[in-house]
Amino acid sequence: MLEVTDLTRVYGAGDAAHVAVEEVSVSVAEGELVSIVGPSGCGKSTLLRCVAGLLTPTAGRIKLNGAAVERVPDRLSVVFQDYSRSLYPWLTVQDNVALPLRRTERSRKARRAAADASLAAIGLPDVGHKYPWQLSGGMQQRVAIARALAGDPILLLMDEPFGSVDAQTREDLEDLTLRVRAERGITILVVTHDIDESVYLGDRVIVLTAGPGRILADLPVNLPQPRDQTATKELPGFVHLRTEVSRLVRSRQAVSPARPG
C-alpha cells in the first residue's frame, strides 16, 4: 500500500547540511499498523512528514497505492503531537473536526453532521459546541483524532501523538487507536519515542538510528489481538520484544550506524 524506497532527506546545504534521514526503505501493507521508534533526533518525524507530502524528499521515492506522493495525498490524515496548537482556537470543536471536509463537502449542515458522527465515534458526543481550549489535553487529542478520521482516510500518520498527556490518558488513547484500526481497517504509521507504546500498538516495530536516521531493525510483533493494557504487557513475548527494542535504541543512541564498506 505504502512503498518508501531509498528515502533521503537533507536539511541545509554545504557544510551546514544535516542528513536527517538516509536511504530508508519501508513497505507497509494495507491495514497494517507500523510503529517507528528511535532516539530523539533520529529523523522519525522527518520520515513521517515526507510520507505525508509535507516535506519534499532530497532523494528516493514514496508511493501510495502506486501513485507517487508529491503533495499531501487525498485520504491521508495526520495527527500532530502538539494538539493544542494544531486545533484552531477560534473554531468550535465541531468546526475544527469539520475543517478538512470543507474541501469536498459544500453544505455546512452536512459537514457538521459528519463532524458530530466522527466525534461520537471517538467517544466525545457532547463537546461539539465547546472550544478546544475548554477541554483537557487528552480530550483535545481525541478531537484531533476525530478530525483526522472525519475525512475517512485510508492512511493515518501519527507523530508522537500521545507524548504530552498523562499515563492513564495515554493508555486510553492507545486503545482508542487500536479500536479505530480494528473497526475501519485503516493503515496507520505511528512515530513514537516510547518503546512500550511502539510494541503495544504495532504489528511491526521499525527501529531507527540517530543522526542520520537509518533503519536498524524491522521487527514483527507476534502478539495476539485484541491487545490489553495489562494482559498483553505481561506476556513473555511482549517483555522480550520491548527489551530487544530498548537494547537496539540504546545501543545506537549516540553513534552513527556503521556504514557499509
Binding site: 505525508a52 509535507l54 482556537p89 478538512p100 470543507r102 474541501r103 475525512g151
Partner: protein, 252 residues
C-alpha cells in the same frame, strides 16, 4: 465615581472664580444642550448646528477609518504572508510611516481643495499605518503548526485565508484599529482646523476667534464623549468577535 468627583470639584472651583477661561461644567453642559441637542423631535432633537457641524465630523472620521481599514487589512495580509511583496514594499512602508501626516495636510489641501475630500484623505492616510503594520505583524506570525495543519488537511488558499490567517491575525488587527481610532479623532479636528467650512474643528476655530471660551470647551467635551463612545463600540465588537482569544488567555 472619580469622574463625577472631578467634575464636581471643577464646578465648585469654577463657580467661585467666575473665570472667563474656565467656565463651570454646568455652563458648558447648558451651552452644549443649547448648541446641539435642543432641536425639534423630528430631527432627533438635533439642532441645525449639530447636523451641520457635528455629523459631518463624525462621518469624515468614519469614512477615513473605513478607507484605512479596507486598504490596510488586505495589503497587510499580502505583505505579512509574502516574502516577495514585503521585500518590494518594506522600504516604502518605513518611509511612509515615518512621514508626519500633519505635514501632508497642505498637500492634500492643494490636491483636494478645502472640504470633505481633503479631510477624509488626511484621516485615511494617517490612520492606515497602525492598521497596516499590526496586520502585517499578525499575518506574519501565524503559528507554524497551524500552517502545517492547514497543509496536512489540504485547505485551499481561500480556506487558509478565511479559516486560519485572518482569524489568527485578528487580535493584532484590533490592536491596530484601536490606535487608529484615537488617531482619527485627532486628525479630524486637525484637518478641520486647517481647512474646512464646517465641522467640530471649524466650530472651535470660530469660537476661538470670537473669544468664546465656553464654546471651545463645549467642542472639547464633545470630542471626549465622541472618543469614549467610539471606543465603547469597538470594545463591544471586539468582545463578540474575539471571545475565543479571551478564553485562550484565561485557560492559558
Amino acid at each position: 465615581m472619580v469622574l463625577a468627583a472631578g467634575v464636581g470639584l471643577w464646578q465648585l472651583w469654577a463657580s467661585g472664580q467666575h473665570s472667563a477661561f474656565f467656565p463651570p461644567p454646568s455652563a458648558i453642559l447648558a451651552r452644549m444642550y443649547h448648541l446641539w441637542f435642543s432641536g425639534p423631535a423630528a430631527h432627533v432633537f438635533l439642532t441645525p448646528d449639530a447636523t451641520g457641524n457635528v455629523l459631518p465630523s463624525i462621518w469624515r472620521t468614519l469614512a477615513g477609518l473605513a478607507i484605512a481599514t479596507v486598504a490596510g487589512i488586505p495589503l497587510g495580509i499580502a505583505i505579512g504572508r509574502s516574502r516577495a511583496v514585503s521585500g518590494y514594499l518594506e522600504p516604502l512602508l518605513q518611509f511612509g510611516r515615518a512621514l508626519p501626516v500633519v505635514t501632508l495636510a497642505p498637500v492634500f489641501l492643494a490636491l483636494f481643495k478645502i472640504g470633505t475630500q481633503m479631510e477624509v484623505a488626511t484621516i485615511a492616510f494617517g490612520t492606515v499605518w497602525p492598521i497596516l503594520l499590526n496586520t502585517i505583524d499578525g499575518a506574519a506570525s501565524v503559528d507554524p503548526v497551524q500552517l502545517e495543519t492547514a497543509r496536512a488537511f489540504r485547505l485551499s488558499r481561500a480556506q487558509r485565508l478565511t479559516q486560519l490567517i485572518i482569524p489568527s491575525a485578528l487580535p493584532k488587527i484590533f490592536t491596530g484599529f484601536r490606535l487608529s481610532l484615537s488617531l482619527a479623532l485627532i486628525l479630524m479636528v486637525f484637518s478641520e482646523l486647517v481647512g474646512s467650512s464646517n465641522g467640530i474643528g471649524y466650530e472651535m476655530l470660530n469660537a476661538q476667534s470670537s473669544f468664546d471660551l465656553t464654546g471651545l470647551w463645549c467642542a472639547i467635551v464633545l470630542l471626549g464623549i465622541l472618543g469614549y463612545l467610539l471606543n465603547a463600540i469597538l470594545n463591544g465588537v471586539q468582545w463578540m468577535v474575539l471571545s475565543w482569544h479571551r478564553g485562550v488567555r484565561e485557560a492559558g
